[in-house]
Symmetry: C2
Subunit: 191 residues, 2 copies
DNA sequence: ATGAGTGATGGGACTTGGTCTCATCAACCG
DNA sequence: CGGTTGATGAGACCAAGTCCCATCACTCAT
């Protein structure tokens, strides 16, 4: 496998993130990102499906961790326990370097509709993956969908908390899912 | 307000839907849609922000109906009752002509990633709108988010049911939300 | 009526995202 | 040392989306 400067992909991500922060997403051309990374437009699109995707790498890996954890949880534990295991399983990818870039990345996404759109699709993807994994364990369809949706809600809020405070993502996710479950109880109890 | 052939916007929607069904979304150029509608590319983009949006018109109106219904529900009724009112309130827009085009529209969306993306964003928009309306009534933040998310889940599933079976959308939505609530109970009860 | 104003449309130049094809060049292998 | 492989460069090409200006239909005041 021939290679000149290593980590072309990582260099593209870094260049994109910096340029987006400096000048905004829409004011940055793909050719410019490639240039800063010492590459060309052709190479950019060989590494990423489109301009948005440079900010969403590694999300397939997350989905795999989630479904793997659900499959590995004993069936007796119940759907929400499996979902909790799924969230905790993703913690291995939440290291120091992700923490430092995460806030920058989230700010860029928040400022652009195209990116919020892509983000929403990724979350739907997670929810579908978890729901499918639950159904494979015999969880009824609707129950699986509800559990997965609550899990994604906790995942997103846990991620926000983690970006602000740092620490162990697994622990934060567990606690946030607990908060969500408490909110569900409050909803049904209060009527 | 000068006008030649009336309903330019509606003609564009119809032309787009037909062409997307015939040849697929990605094989259809905006110029082609405009041509079939007796208009030009310029005019298309004057009516729709982008190519995707031609399939998602009127969704702002839906959000308005939802938030209006939530605001009009007595606070004592509780968040989920308000969400139910929000779903029922959208029923006024689910008439015969929407039923006939709905399945066609949904098939087109399902077959294309860009469109699934846009759809996901619209659903997030509904959820945020409902959650904000609930918070304005004093519902705690997380409770509002959970209630809104469950409502959107019911809305989507109810919409699918309605497309298959027809009938009164309000009634279907009410029933579907009931199913979701039962699933929530099963999740928490079964552990 | 007639002419000015208004709002919707046409038309075309232009930028950029994204695809495709072909040439190139570094490393590896026999 | 020559051939293969895999990543890259280069450039043509198409369609989405923006911009600007001309035009045409309709309205309204004089």
């Amino acid at each position: 496998m021939g290679r000149w400067e290593p980590d072309a992909r990582a260099r593209l991500v870094r260049a994109a993130l910096d340029l987006f922060s400096e000048q905004g997403y829409e004011n940055t051309a793909v050719a410019q990102i490639a240039e800063r990374a010492g590459l060309t437009k052709s190479t950019f699109f060989r590494h990423f499906r489109d301009k948005r995707e440079v900010l969403f790498g590694g999300q397939d890996e997350l989905a795999g961790l989630m479904t793997g954890a659900i499959a590995a949880t004993p069936v007796e534990a119940g759907p929400l326990a499996a979902v909790e295991a799924a969230l905790v399983a993703t913690a291995v990818t939440f290291g120091e370097e992700r923490l430092s870039h995460g806030a920058q990345r989230l700010a860029v996404i928040a400022g652009n509709d195209e990116l919020r759109e892509r983000s929403a699709l990724k979350m739907v993807g997670f929810a579908v993956a978890m729901a499918d994994a639950l159904k494979a364990r015999g969880v009824p369809e609707l129950d699986a969908a509800v559990a997965a949706e609550l899990g994604i809600l906790a995942f997103q809020r846990g991620y926000d908390r983690w970006l602000e405070a740092g620490g162990d993502f697994g622990e934060i996710a567990r606690r946030t899912l607990g908060d969500v479950r408490a909110a569900v109880q409050a909803l049904e109890g209060g009527e």
